[in-house]
Amino acid sequence: MEKSIHRNICEEHVFEGVYKKYSKDLHNFLYYKFGNQLNPEDKVQEAFIKLWDKCADTTPEKAKSFLFTIANNSMLNAIKHEKVKLKYSQKPFASFTIEDPVFILEEKEYMQKYQDALANLTEAQREVFLLNRIDKKKHQEIADLLGISRKSVEKRLYGALTKLRKEIKNLP
């Protein structure tokens, strides 16, 4: 692991460095895991404010796990335990102007099924799958981010992919 000469992260430029490194990943992680019912942006903000309040006791190396734990817990405490449904965006369809209407309908149906299947994944499967497919993160990067082993990342990832396929295709 990188060693730093900073014993804590109270100085503004050190804090900003930590912020730039982790804020977007933290935001996307929260969104994939909990969806949008509580604003993930607010939770990112809260977590970083708490981190700054505690900056004197936190080294740059410890900041990541502090942030992910704090934000995750405050989500868990606030959230109603409902199924998380991530809405798919319709935008790309608008650009296909001369598309066959049957095709458009089929595509829409497919995305509906995809959305439901994604909601039926476990939180653990969904966050790993979307960090990999949308944020293009390597398996090792995800493992480092979530503080789990690469093996468990891959187990969740493969589980997610096979489960999505089964649900979308109505396979047993």
Partner: protein, 298 residues
């Protein structure tokens, strides 16, 4: 190869052409490909890094203000304690932000020029007996004659007697250039002596040295220059000199070596001096963001 292993390699973007042929034979692969291609429809809402950072800063400093009465009380106590107890911890810390340079004179008249995005820490009180500086980033030193002078970085300790030299230390990257006298570089596995006009570069497991003829580093004259330096290091320096964010595509080979320089006062020119020789194109997105891409072959 085992099916699961093959699919995981594909998901990690770490698959050979041979394996790709094999994976295409799998009956379920078409479904997986479609699932993967459609995943982008679930993209999270755009996260505005700057907006949120500003909110955090304003909240942080507001909450600080509330405690000003306590702070004053605390400071008075502190001043008294400081008078009572001899305080040997007198560490000075000086840093530069993006696109900023500073010149610092140390208690013995040694001079330090700090390049952008760097920080030094030293003990001002006991400077004459303990000439030790901790450095993160890049600095040019003109050392006054005297006892041993050490620059400590996370990659190595650089020691001298009286000389002029540059230390550039960015995470796993270290560059030391000697402009005058003799410098000793001590890493965890080697000891090297560098004479005038010589330099070394250590980057993870990659190691090289070269000779040069300049009198002082080019960044003191408003440009950054590189000799066979990994593109990643060059792009990081560009971000530090211009306060911009670079969007770097995944397929960009950041370990390719770059030789050349870029000015600090003209972003377009700087971008051209890097992108043209590296066969890249760039596009400005607003004031603070630049996207890089390979020029596609026809």
């Amino acid at each position: 190869m085992n099916k699961e292993k093959l699919i995981l390699k594909w998901l990690d973007d770490d698959i050979s052409d041979e394996e790709m042929k094999e994976i295409k034979q799998l009956p379920e692969f078409e479904d997986y490909l479609k699932i993967s291609n459609k995943a982008h429809h679930f993209k999270p809402p755009e996260f505005n890094t700057y907006k949120v950072l500003n909110k955090i800063k304003s909240k942080h400093y507001r909450s600080r203000k509330l405690y000003w009465q306590y702070s004053i009380a605390a400071s008075i106590i502190l001043i008294f304690s400081a008078l009572l107890i001899y305080n040997s911890d007198s560490h000075e810390s000086i840093n530069t932000s993006i696109a900023e340079q500073k010149e610092i004179t140390l208690p013995d008249n040694s001079k330090v020029s700090l390049n952008a995005g760097s920080i030094i820490t030293y003990d001002a009180e006991n400077w004459n007996t303990n000439r030790t500086i901790q450095l993160e980033g890049e600095a040019f030193f003109k050392v006054a004659k005297g006892k041993k002078f050490d620059v400590i970085t996370n990659n190595a300790t650089v020691s001298v007697l009286g000389t002029e030299f540059v230390v550039n230390n960015r995470s796993a990257f270290l560059e030391v250039m000697t402009f005058e006298g003799l410098v000793q570089v001590v890493t965890k596995d080697t000891i090297l002596n560098l004479t005038k006009g010589n330099s070394i570069v250590i980057n993870k497991d990659y190691f090289s040295n070269y000779a040069f003829e300049r009198e002082q580093p080019t960044w003191l004259e408003g440009s950054s220059s590189f000799k066979s330096t990994q593109l990643e290091i060059v792009l990081n320096e560009l971000e530090r000199q211009y306060d911009i964010t670079l969007n770097i595509p995944k397929n960009l080979q950041l370990h390719r070596l770059y030789t050349g320089n870029f000015p600090h006062n003209n972003l377009e020119e700087a971008l051209q001096s890097i992108s043209v020789p590296m066969n890249l194109k760039y596009s400005l997105k607003g004031e603070k963001t630049v996207s890089l891409a390979y020029i596609e072959e026809k």
